[in-house]
């Protein structure tokens, strides 16, 4: 049984002039110890997907479809039961380390909170555990970090503290929502390494969200590419990178600066991400796709198999794969 099984998950958010579907019927599964990368441009619904899994949608947001954790549909749980899942079975590391910690409490106080809540430790036991967690995430000299306030730490150190909090109750699934986007390039690699290390050490399943293909490419077992609230392509990382099937994935890959590109202009995908409120009728990418035909604007493409466990949603898959110049045939 998969640890996490998401089926036709849809998220609607209230907006002026009606609800907008930020996530539109996405499905994926996550096995024990597996890592899944979710990639896509800003605003494509990555964070909303993560928050939906946590049951923490913004006020007024509604959910459709199912989210099963070890076969148990989280949507049938009441709020109290959901509180027991959060931070305990599923934990999350957020995008903005600078604002994700409470400025008026010490790191220690924030770290012992889930330990006391979910593991039933008393304050002293929780403190001992907190020290070892701080050491594990690279905050050696735990005494100092335990009694430090967030403003006394750097962004990288705060993100380490966030990771310690997320790890604290041995969750089965860790969701990392762009954990390094707000950090210096020099610390980005360290934080990613830390996450991958602890995840594999503890046999956890990981959802790594990023807008940066580079962050995903080398490290996750499987990737899902999101565009306009839908997953347009997903499969094992090696498969996907060997044969980029969807025109959007191809464009995204081409936009990643490669070493040795010299002084050429970076390639970009023409056009901009459409507004959620008025997404087009058919394929959401049709407006920006060089391969689009009349039918693309009317018909929503289904996921089609393009290789072992590798699927993409495009009406013009054959043309796309034929013209693909970006696949790294390894």
């Amino acid at each position: 049984m998969s640890v996490l099984e998401v089926d036709r998950l849809t998220v609607s958010l209230p907006m002026v002039g009606g609800a907008a579907r930020a996530v539109r019927g996405i499905s994926f599964r996550l096995e024990r110890g597996e890592s899944l990368g979710i990639v896509g441009e800003s605003g494509c619904g990555k964070s909303m997907t993560a928050l939906a899994l946590m049951g923490l949608l913004p006020d007024g947001g509604t959910l459709d479809g199912s989210i099963a954790l070890n076969g148990r549909n989280l949507r049938t749980l009441d709020e109290a039961a959901m509180c027991h899942v959060r931070g305990n079975a599923i934990a999350m590391v957020f995008q903005e380390p600078m604002t994700s910690l409470n400025p008026v409490h010490t790191i220690g106080k924030q770290l012992v909170e889930p330990l006391m809540l979910h593991l039933g430790l008393d304050r002293d036991e929780a403190k001992v555990e907190a020290f070892s967690l701080l050491e594990r995430v690279g905050l050696v000299d735990p005494q100092r970090y335990y009694s430090a306030f967030p403003h006394q730490l750097s962004g990288g150190q705060r993100q380490r503290a966030m990771i310690a909090m997320a790890l604290s109750c041995h969750p089965e699934v860790l969701i990392a929502d762009e954990p390094t986007t707000a950090l210096d390039v020099t610390v980005q690699g360290q934080i990613l390494d830390l996450i991958y290390d602890v995840v594999s050490e503890r046999q956890m399943s990981l959802i790594m969200i990023s807008h940066d293909l580079g962050v995903i490419a080398q490290t996750v077992d499987r990737v899902a590419v999101m565009y306009g609230g839908s997953i347009v392509e997903q499969g094992p990382t090696a498969e996907v990178f060997a044969q980029l099937a969807h025109p959007y994935t191809q464009g995204l890959f081409a936009a990643v600066p490669q070493v040795g590109d010299g002084r050429r202009r970076l390639r970009t995908i023409p056009g901009t991400v459409p507004e959620l409120a008025d997404l087009p009728q058919g394929c959401t990418f049709a407006g920006r796709c060089s391969l689009s035909r009349e039918s693309c604007h009317h018909q929503v493409p289904d996921m089609r198999s393009v290789g072992p466990n590798h699927m993409a949603a495009c009406l013009r898959l054959d043309a796309a794969m034929a013209t693909s110049t970006f696949g790294l045939r390894r």
């Binding site: 934990a91 957020f94 910690l101 409470n102 924030q110 909170e113």
Partner: protein, 316 residues
């Protein structure tokens, strides 16, 4: 820390100096002659002149200002014209009423406002929220003296639970004394609580949107626990600012309310002193009120540092 205290002390002195000049000038310009106020308008001219000389009113303004200030600095606050006792005695006696009144009113304000504000924010856009908003709007709109009169009508005249005014003194026992301060404190607190409840509500609502609140929820804390442990303290910062400002309002409010309820407090003392042209009393009390406001601001600054660790480093 010592720099912080030195800066504070300088502010304190400057504020009091400013207040002393302003009150002195206003009383200079204001029509009305203490000697006439004491003797009556048809007083014998020679007695009038003698009294003016005795009170020092015939000296130049600057001399009078300096002798007042040097008196204050040496602990001699002067003698009240109307009561013929040292102003310090008079004030201490009156403070025994006004300080407890202000403290009770402030405590009521804080408890009611934070409770209502939290409740409204937790029930944002629901009936409870609207209810609090409507009541607070009413509370703000109602003048406190009029509300005081309504309270007297209802609780004293109609229900007969409280006396309609007056103060038995602390010698009469704790409960009778407190009881006589209860209605006036409610009248004083209502407007302040209404304002503060709104401030609390909007501050809590703003704080609820912060990332660290989402983090707390992601750890598995319930809504209520998150509100209590992570939202409240952060939301308190603007609330404390307003509370500091409200204390000054509250002191001003005592002047009106003590007159409505016939309470022999500092507010009533000032009011009567102005009516009687008891200038020494007016000047001293205004100076005292200014000092109290500065001290409260100092307390507010300390409260900031207690609430928010980020503010501790700078001033230390």
């Amino acid at each position: 820390m010592s720099l912080f205290i030195a800066k504070r002390f300088a502010t304190f002195v400057a504020t009091l100096f400013g207040a002393s000049v302003v009150v002195f000038l206003i009383l200079e310009i204001l029509p009305g002659d203490p000697a006439y106020a004491i003797l009556g308008a048809d007083a014998d001219p020679s007695a009038y002149q003698a009294l003016r000389k005795e009170l020092g009113l015939d000296e130049p303004a600057l001399d009078r200002y300096l002798s007042w200030i040097s008196g204050v600095l040496t602990g001699d606050f002067g003698i009240s014209y109307t009561y013929s006792v040292p102003v310090s005695e008079l004030v201490v006696e009156r403070l025994a009423l006004t300080v407890p009144l202000a403290v009770i009113a402030m405590a009521m304000t804080v408890i009611v406002a934070i409770g209502l504000g939290l409740y409204a924010a937790a029930h944002h856009n629901k009936v409870g929220d609207w209810g609090v908003m409507v009541f607070s709007q009413l509370g703000i709109a109602v003048p406190n003296f009029w509300f005081g009169i309504l309270l007297i009508l209802l609780f004293s005249v109609y229900l007969g639970w409280f006396s309609s005014g007056g103060f038995p003194g602390w010698d009469a026992g704790l409960w009778p004394a407190l009881k006589s301060l209860l209605l006036p404190a409610v009248a004083l607190a209502t407007v302040q609580a209404a304002i503060l409840a709104r401030v609390t509500r909007s501050s809590v609502l703003e704080t609820i949107g912060e990332d660290y609140v989402r983090t707390a929820r992601a750890k598995g804390l319930t809504r209520a626990a998150t509100l209590w442990r992570h939202v409240l303290r952060n939301a308190l910062i603007p609330v404390v600012t307003i509370m500091g400002l409200q204390f000054a309002n509250l002191l001003a409010g005592t002047i009106v309310i003590e007159n409505v309820f016939f309470l022999p407090g500092l507010g009533r003392l000032v009011f009567q002193a102005i009516a009687n042209r008891d200038l020494v009393v007016v000047k001293d009390v205004v100076l005292l009120l200014a000092a109290m406001v500065v001290v409260v601001n100092f307390v507010v600054d300390i409260a900031y540092a207690i609430i928010d660790p980020r503010l501790r480093a700078h001033d230390a």
